[in-house]
Symmetry: none
Subunit: 231 residues, 2 copies
DNA sequence: TTCGAATGTGACAGTTGCGTGACGAGTTCA
DNA sequence: TGAACTCGTCACGCAACTGTCACATTCGAA
C-alpha cells in the first residue's frame, strides 16, 4: 500500500512545519498550502487522501473551503479535519455542519492528531454492502472472507479473492484486461496486462478441484467473463 | 445481541460530541441529552442500557438526577456513570452514595471510558442471566470475567480479554487491524496497527496450552477472524 | 491446412505480510 | 520502594504472494 497523502492548509509557517514534520515521521506523504487558493491547486495536482485545514486563513475561512469542497463531486470524498484555535462551541457545530469530518482544537498533541487522522481515514473506507454471493455451487461470504463449494472451503490468495469477488458482483459481462486492472487492482497501478492472465489461471486452478473452473470463461479477443451459463 | 444503547447527558456540545463519537465507533448506539429535563424524555423513549451523566448540568446536578432515578422502580436498574471535572474525593464519595455505579474524572481517555462502561454493564447484568460465551471448548464468562477451557482457567491480560470478548461476540467475521483498534482499543487512540498482531499473538499463546489457538485465524491481506470452522 | 496472434501454463526472483522474541516505559500492588 | 504485570514498538526471518518471462497450446482467418 502506498503512503497516504495529506494536504496541510495553514498560513502560519511554524505550525505548518511542525505538523508536516510529525506526519512525515508517521509515514505520511505531506503537501502544504498557505491559503485556500493554493490549496485548490494542490488538490488538483496531488489528489490528497485527507486534508487538514486551519480555520483562520488569509483569503477565505477554512470552513468555507470545506463547504465548497463538499459541494463538488470531484472533491466531496476527501475527508477534512478542521483545526481551530479556540474551542468555541459555536465553531465546532458549524464546522461539522459545514461538512468537515472531524475537528481538533489547538493546541493538540501529535498523538491526538494522528489518532483523528487514522479514525477519519478508517471511516472514509466504506463497509461493503452485499455480503453473501452465490453462483452455482460457489459461495463467497465477504464478511467472513471465505469462499466455499458446499462445505469445503476454497483457499484463495488476496488478489484471486478480489478478482472473484469482482466477477461475482458483475456476472455475465465481459471485461477486458485493462478494465480488470482498473477495477480489481486499482486505477493507478501499472502492471502488464498479461498479469491478469496469470491470476485468472490461478483462480481457475483453485476452482478446479471442485469442477468450477468453467465459471471463469475466456472471450477471445475481448477479455474474461464470469458466467454460470456454459460458454 | 443488539447494540447497547447509551444515553449521554452533558451540556457542553463539544464534549458530548467527542464522547458520542468514540462510543459510536466502539459499536454502541448513542443518544444525547443536554440537561436533566431532556434526559428524562430520552429515558422514556429510548430505554438506555447505561447512562453517562455530567456532574454539572444547567437545570439540576447530575447527582440529583442520579438520585431520583435510583428512587424509581422504573429506572433504578439503569447503571449510571458520573462525569466530573475535578477528582475531589468528596465528590466521589457523595457521587457513589447518590447511587452512581461508577465515577470518572475529566479528562479521561477513550479506553478508560470503554473499560468502565464494560465493567459497569457487566456488574449490572442480572445475576441469573448468564452472559456466557461458548465456542468449541472455550468459555468466556463475562460476569466473573473468567475465561476457561473445560475446568482449567486461562489467564489473560486486560487487552487480550477485551479482544477475545469482542471476537466471541462477533464470530465468523473478518476484522481489519484498523477495525479492531476502533472496537477494542477505542475510537480515538493512536497506536501502530501492528500492535494488533502482537496482542493476537499473546492471545494465541494463552490459548495454545489448550490447542485452541486455531480459533483465532489470520486472513492474509484482510485481518483476523474468530471461527470454530477451520481455516 | 497453415500461419500468426491470442491465450494457457510453469517457473523464478523480488516483495510483502505476518509471526515472533526482546526491550523499555509505565502501572499496580504489596 | 521494588517486584510483577502490561503495553506498545521494533527488528529479524520465514512463508506466501506477486509480477514477469519464456515456452506451449489453441484458435481463427485465409
Amino acid at each position: 500500500m502506498t503512503a497516504k497523502r495529506i494536504l496541510v492548509v495553514e498560513d502560519e509557517k511554524a505550525i505548518r512545519d511542525m505538523i508536516a514534520f510529525g506526519l512525515r515521521r508517521a509515514g505520511y506523504e505531506v503537501r502544504e498550502a498557505q491559503d485556500c487558493r493554493e490549496a485548490r491547486a494542490r488538490i488538483v495536482d496531488t489528489r490528497p487522501d485527507l486534508m487538514l485545514v486551519d480555520w483562520m486563513l488569509p483569503d477565505m475561512s477554512g470552513l468555507e473551503l470545506t463547504r465548497s469542497l463538499k459541494r463538488s463531486k470531484e472533491t466531496e470524498e476527501i475527508p477534512v479535519i478542521l483545526l481551530t484555535a479556540r474551542s468555541e462551541e459555536q465553531d465546532k457545530v458549524s464546522g461539522l455542519e459545514g461538512g468537515a469530518d472531524d475537528y481538533i482544537t489547538k493546541p493538540f498533541s501529535p498523538r491526538e492528531l494522528l489518532a483523528r487522522i487514522q479514525a477519519v481515514m478508517r471511516r472514509a473506507a466504506p463497509a461493503g454492502a452485499a455480503d453473501v454471493l452465490v453462483a452455482d455451487g460457489l459461495t463467497l461470504d465477504d464478511s467472513s472472507h471465505r469462499v466455499s463449494a458446499g462445505e469445503r472451503e476454497i483457499p484463495l490468495g488476496p488478489t484471486e479473492y478480489r478478482l472473484l469477488h469482482f466477477f461475482m458482483t458483475h456476472p455475465e459481462r465481459v471485461f477486458s484486461r485493462g478494465q480488470l486492472l482498473d477495477r480489481v487492482w486499482g486505477g493507478n497501478t501499472y502492471v502488464e496486462e498479461r498479469t491478469v492472465d496469470v491470476h485468472i489461471r490461478r483462480l481457475r486452478k483453485a476452482l478446479e478441484p471442485f469442477s468450477l473452473e468453467r465459471l471463469v470463461q475466456t472471450v477471445r479477443g475481448a477479455g474474461y467473463r464470469f458466467s454460470t451459463r456454459d460458454a
